[in-house]
Amino acid sequence: MSKPMTRHADVQTIPVSFTLNGRLQEIDVEPNELLLDVVRDRLGLTGAKRSCDVQVCGACTLLVDGRPVSACTTLAFEVRGRSVMTIEGLADDGKLHPLQEAFIEHGGFQCGFCTPGMLLASKALLDENPNPTEAELKHFMHGNLCRCTGYKKIIESIMAAAKKMRGSRA
C-alpha cells in the first residue's frame, strides 16, 4: 500500500525498520512525517483516527512496545527498532481479542470512532494491571474521549474483558 513519494535530492530520509502488528516493516520516512500519517496513508491501516490532533482525545492511540502513544504527535522515525500495534493487529488471525468481544457483547461503542483507541489503551492497561479497580481503569483511560458519552458501557466492557482474561489465565 505504500504510495510512491517524489523526493528531492537534498531531502533527508530516515530508514525505519520496525515490527508492525507482528511483522517486520521497513520504510523510509522524512523527519517531519507523523506516525499517524505513515500508518494511515502509506501503510493503509486506517483504524487509528485523526481527531483532536493535540494528544487529548486518544482516537489515534497506537501501542508502541505495548504502551499507548498518540500517533498524531509522534514522529514516525521514533518507532525505529520498536514494535507497533494498530487496531488491525489486535485480533489474532481472525479471532477477536477478549476486549473486542466484550465491547460487542456489552455495547461498548456507539459510532465507533473512538473504539480503536479505547481498545488499544485498555489492552495496555490490562497487560500491566490484569485486575484494575474501576478507579484505576478510569484514571488510565481518562485521556480517551467518547463523544457519544458511552463511558458506562465502555467501563463495563473493559471490566468484563478483564474478568474473562483473568479466568483464561488461571
Binding site: P31, N32, G58, R67, P68, S70, F77, G143
Partner: protein, 283 residues
C-alpha cells in the same frame, strides 16, 4: 501536517551545545515532543532543524547519592511515576507525575522538556521549586546549576543560554521530618492553578516552609512572604495563619484572567489549595 525540517541526532551534550551555537534560532532541541510538536503543527513556531537529544546517554535515570536525588532530564513522566526511589523518597512528585495530562503524554513527555518548554500550565516546576531543586545546565564551556526560582523567567522563557541544554535535576533528599504536597485545580485540559508546599514538622513546629504557586500566571513563583509567615510557628498557629498566607500566595501567583479562570477566582483557588495542601501533610 508538519513542515519539513532536518533532524540532527548528536550523542553528547557538547555536540548538542555546538549545534545550538551553530544554528541558533533555526534549531530547537527535541525530546518527547509533547509540547513542541503541537506548537509546530499549529504553525506557532517553525524550525529548520530539530536536535533529537534522546541518543544522549545517562540522562534517563533516577538515582540517589550523598543526600541528593538526581533525575535525568530525559526521564519520561511515566518513568518518574514508576520510580521506586521516588515512590520512597518523593511521593509528592510521584503523585504529581501520575496526574500529568494523560497516559500517552506521560509515555512520551520528558521532565526536562516539560521544564524547558516552560508552558505556564505545567505542574513539575512548581513542586520542584518548593522542594529546593536545582537544574543542571550544560554547554561546551561547562556545567552550572540553576535554582528552580532562577530557571523560570516568564511564559515559555527560561534562563538557559542559547547554547545550553538541561541535563538533569537535583533534589535534596527529604529528611525524616520533611513533608511536601502539590495540589492542582482546573476544568480544562491543563490546570488553572497549582500550589506546592514543603516543610519539616519538628514536633509541633513547622519549619523550613517553602511555598510555590504555578499555572495561574506566566511562570511558577516562590512565595517567600507566605513562607516567613508560617515558619517556626506551631501547627495550630500556622493553621490560623493559612488564610493570610493563602491571600499572599494568591497575589504572588501573578494570576491573569483567561480561559482558565478570572484573576480573582484563581487567587482564591490558590488560597484554597494552600490550605488543603498544608492540612494534607500536617495533621
Amino acid at each position: 501536517m508538519l513542515k519539513r525540517f532536518r533532524l540532527e541526532e548528536p550523542e553528547s551534550a557538547a555536540e548538542v551545545s555546538e549545534l545550538l551555537g551553530r544554528f541558533g534560532d533555526s534549531a530547537k532541541i527535541y525530546a518527547g515532543g509533547t509540547e513542541l510538536l503541537l506548537a509546530m503543527k499549529e504553525g506557532l513556531v517553525q524550525y529548520e532543524r530539530l536536535i533529537n537529544v534522546k541518543k544522549l546517554k545517562g540522562l534517563s535515570e533516577v538515582s540517589g547519592e550523598n543526600g541528593t536525588i538526581k533525575i535525568g532530564a530525559l526521564c519520561t513522566h511515566h518513568q518518574l511515576e514508576n520510580s521506586s526511589l521516588l515512590q520512597q523518597k518523593l511521593p509528592s512528585l510521584v503523585k504529581l507525575e501520575q496526574n500529568v495530562a494523560n497516559v500517552r503524554v506521560r509515555q512520551a513527555g520528558s521532565i526536562g522538556g516539560n521544564l524547558c518548554f516552560a508552558e505556564p500550565h505545567a505542574d513539575p516546576g512548581t513542586l520542584l521549586m518548593a522542594l529546593g531543586a536545582k537544574l543542571v545546565a550544560e554547554k561546551i564551556s561547562g556545567k552550572r546549576e540553576i535554582t528552580a526560582e532562577d530557571f523560570f523567567v516568564d511564559a515559555y522563557e527560561t534562563s538557559l543560554a542559547a547554547d545550553e541544554l538541561l541535563t538533569g535535576i537535583r533534589v535534596p533528599t527529604p529528611g525524616a521530618n520533611s513533608r511536601s504536597a502539590y495540589l492542582k485545580f482546573g476544568y480544562l485540559e491543563r490546570p488553572s492553578v497549582g500550589v506546592a508546599i514543603a516543610l519539616t514538622l519538628d514536633g509541633e513546629t513547622v519549619n523550613n516552609v517553602k511555598i510555590a504557586v504555578g499555572c495561574a500566571g506566566p511562570a511558577p513563583r516562590r512565595v517567600a512572604e507566605a513562607e516567613a509567615l508560617l515558619n517556626g510557628k506551631s501547627k495550630d498557629e500556622a493553621v490560623r495563619l493559612l488564610p493570610q498566607a493563602g491571600a499572599i500566595a494568591g497575589r504572588a501567583s501573578e494570576a491573569i484572567s483567561d480561559l482558565h479562570g478570572a484573576q480573582d477566582y484563581k487567587e482564591h483557588i490558590v488560597g484554597v489549595l494552600l490550605k488543603r495542601a498544608f492540612n494534607s501533610i500536617v495533621s
